[in-house]
Symmetry: C2
Subunit: 316 residues, 2 copies
């Protein structure tokens, strides 16, 4: 178990990293974890009758992406002393749930997007009916998959993870955030409070569940979970701010989806509230704080520190 | 624990009931359980911000219905020696999942129904976007709810129930059945095999999960689960055959939804394959067999025997 009560708390992660003398290659770390996750996801859904629904689920599940949620889950499980085997089924379940949310968000009745990650969206390929069902199927299967496939974790802990994932997706999480997002579309005077609610729920809740479930599977204590919760909240919000910024500044080729979409649909965004520069500054402040709370864990936290930096540095 | 190895197996449930000398009032039994379930469902989802999504979920969840799945779950838990408290959170979760499937089935991209249980369908009241999200929210919350609210059941058993419910909804269950149902619409020469697949998955899977999860929560052994599985498969199929028959013979007032819908949309149905009379005969044969496998449990099985009869006798 990792103690969060290390008294040598410094505000400079870089100095701490130098003290420990550990070098860390984020790019390689992400590439290796991503390959593990891809392999597990690929094996998680074999195609059988009726093929169409399995193909539709696989189409979106295997469409690439950073696999950030599964990687965070694996990383916090490791930080708290667990193994990749303990976390991988939950990591896959998180990606299935995330994929479900993307498929449903892209539907004509919702954001009506034709492209996602440079490919046609699920309903453009398989039809709206199958896209709705593919999302439902992924969501339900996520819970079955983690309940059946997880080995070496006490059932009590696993049940907590089931509850945590459910909470992160339901009206208390992702679904609630999407509802307020839809309600805010085209509305004048979106407050910062509303915008924060949207993102804390629409993207933040599942990111937090990813970060906390990994540590929980490894049996982390409350003080660890509290620090990780701050980390997750901050990188989640920073991630969304940067997403909004990229929607304004990036091109279709960089994003792999229609750029400028938020402006077209008059969505409330951080750049529309703060402007580009202040948005970038706020994102950086959140990332700095996220890294600071992890200082007690020293070199063990290097992957999480790297991922935090990666969020502000990314171009897509 | 109830033993399934009672050697006094008779083919006549009535005779067995007379031997036991127990009287049973199905109507009262169903009314009492239904009131319990309604009360628990009502308490399960309080309305909070953003109110619209909670209201949308509650609109369909509290729209009435027979509450057959929760009642089956409570009944098999009791049969296997458990208490109502052990089964109620799972019973509510089953109804949340069932409600999700109805909301999504009614969507314009799916069956495009305007009425359900005599009320406007969810998307007609709240819009398609909210209806999709209300379904997602109910599905995710179902898993959180049973994981958090269940008391007095070992975590290992509860995890099995999580897996069973996930399996019953995913492409291996309800979702897979709906896909084949949509594919079969308007198609010539639907085989009996395809029709059976549709219903074993679209309605049968969740009914079986309702029957088995209750017994599982109480710690029933494999032989009990096997008999209950036969019971569930048979009443599930009989239920669907009678549903198809009622779609032809019943009126809007009796059904609370548009009658004759299957014929209009050229859906494959048992009456279209067998005619009305043969459909009714087949349903009765399934019910008879379902009751026969429960004979070893004597008076303990009375609620399940009554529910089996209720399925063929119902008018809506």
């Amino acid at each position: 178990m990792i103690s969060a009560d290390n008294p040598h708390f410094t505000s400079s992660v870089k100095a701490k990293m130098a003290v420990d003398g550990t070098s860390f290659d984020l790019k390689e770390f992400l590439a290796v974890r991503r390959a593990w996750v891809e392999e597990s996801l690929d094996a998680s859904i074999p195609v059988t009758y009726p093929e169409k629904i399995y193909e539709a689920m696989r189409y979106s599940l295997m469409a690439g992406g950073k696999r950030l949620r599964p990687i965070l889950c694996l990383a916090t499980c490791d930080l708290a002393g667990g193994t990749p085997e303990m976390a991988m089924p939950t990591a896959c379940a998180l990606e299935m749930i995330h994929t479900m949310s993307l498929i449903h968000d892209d539907l004509p009745a919702m954001d009506n997007d034709d492209y996602r990650r440079g490919k046609l969206t699920n309903h453009k390929v398989f039809g709206e009916d199958i896209a709705i069902l593919a999302g439902d199927g992924l969501l339900a299967y996520a819970f079955e998959f983690l309940a059946i496939q997880t080995k070496g974790v006490p059932a009590e802990r696993l049940l907590k993870v089931v509850a945590r994932l459910g909470h992160a997706v339901a009206a208390t999480g992702l679904v609630g955030g999407q509802v307020v997002d839809l309600e805010s579309e085209g509305a004048d005077n979106i407050t910062l409070k509303t915008l924060n609610f949207i993102h804390a729920h629409k993207t933040g809740a599942l990111l937090e569940a990813s970060v906390l479930s990994g540590a929980e599977l490894a049996g982390a204590d409350t003080s660890v979970l509290q620090r990780l919760s701050t980390y997750a909240g901050n990188i989640g919000l920073a991630f969304q701010i940067i997403d909004d910024v990229l929607d304004v500044t990036a091109t279709y080729e960089e994003l792999g989806k229609t750029a400028g979409k938020d402006i077209q649909s008059q969505k409330a965004t951080y750049p529309s509230l703060w402007g580009i520069e202040e948005s970038q500054r706020q994102a950086q402040a959140l990332i700095d704080e996220a890294k600071e709370v992890l200082v007690p864990y020293g070199a063990k936290a290097l992957p999480l520190l790297g991922i935090a930096d990666f969020i502000t540095a990314r171009k897509s």
